[in-house]
């Protein structure tokens, strides 16, 4: 497999009910490819956290999962408000989510830390007022 396989998703910014659909679909796709369960778990959790972040903070965006021979790369791209202080956002427990979001069980301030925890590499490219692009790599 020299070429990559790409799965592309539009993440709906308004909808908490459908949030997670892309992650569940990716989980299914990776299972069909016969990848190890622990890899599938890591990819789908990291992606779900990213999806939820885009719904909570950025009014949606795009998610791409690229499967290579030796790695999986997840790219999350939004035109949201950007992250003012990345170090603060990476702290477990820090969140700017609303009470409504918290009542749904989110906003624990674990999203970005979980994404880092479950991937081998995470790059955050963010500009306030422009958007955020997060690239996560999981090595196979």
């Amino acid at each position: 497999m020299s070429d990559k396989l790409n799965f592309h998703f539009d993440v709906d910014g308004e909808n908490f009910v459908s949030a997670g659909q892309a992650s569940v679909q990716v989980k299914k796709n990776l299972r069909e490819l016969g990848l190890p369960p622990e890899v599938i778990r890591r990819v789908s959790i990291a992606m779900y956290e990213g999806e939820i972040n885009m719904v909570i903070h950025a009014n949606g965006g795009f998610a791409d999962v690229d499967v290579y021979e030796d790695k999986i790369v997840i790219t999350l791209d939004d035109k949201g408000p950007g992250i003012k202080d990345i170090a603060l956002a990476m702290q477990e427990g820090y969140s700017t989510a609303s009470d409504q979001v918290r009542s749904l069980g989110f906003g624990a301030g674990m999203g970005l830390p979980n994404m880092k925890r479950y991937t081998d590499d995470m790059q955050i490219d963010t500009r306030v007022g422009v958007g955020t692009k997060i690239t996560m790599t999981i090595r196979l």
Partner: protein, 108 residues
């Protein structure tokens, strides 16, 4: 022990049981979904009072063996339909979370 055996032993009520023969191993307790995402393990029994649609997604993605809803909380029918569609086992008990966890102590 399988999910079905666990439910029978303790009298928990099955609400969605697409995978009754799944083996359980370990337990995680929590209601903050991201916290659970970061810490629950595959095959765990997950004890929670959170019953919105995202509970099902988190259960599916973390690959827990069973969601055990405590304190007699009851999910909406569409939540259970989603659980069945995604292959997520869900059961309920009237017991508070601590008491339910104590019951499970020697089984998981």
């Amino acid at each position: 022990m399988t999910v079905k055996e666990l439910l029978d032993r303790h009298g928990f009520t099955a609400l969605s049981l697409p995978d009754p023969d799944r083996e359980v191993s370990g337990c995680y307790i929590g209601d903050l979904l991201s916290w659970v995402m970061g810490r629950a393990g595959s095959d765990n029994v997950w004890l929670t009072i959170m019953t919105n649609i995202n509970t099902v997604a988190v259960a599916s993605l973390t690959d827990v063996a069973l969601v055990l809803l405590t304190e007699n909380v009851q999910p909406e029918p569409e939540i259970l339909a989603a659980a069945k569609a995604k292959g997520v086992n869900v059961a309920s008990t009237e017991k508070p979370t601590f008491e339910a966890a104590v019951l499970l102590r020697d089984d998981v």
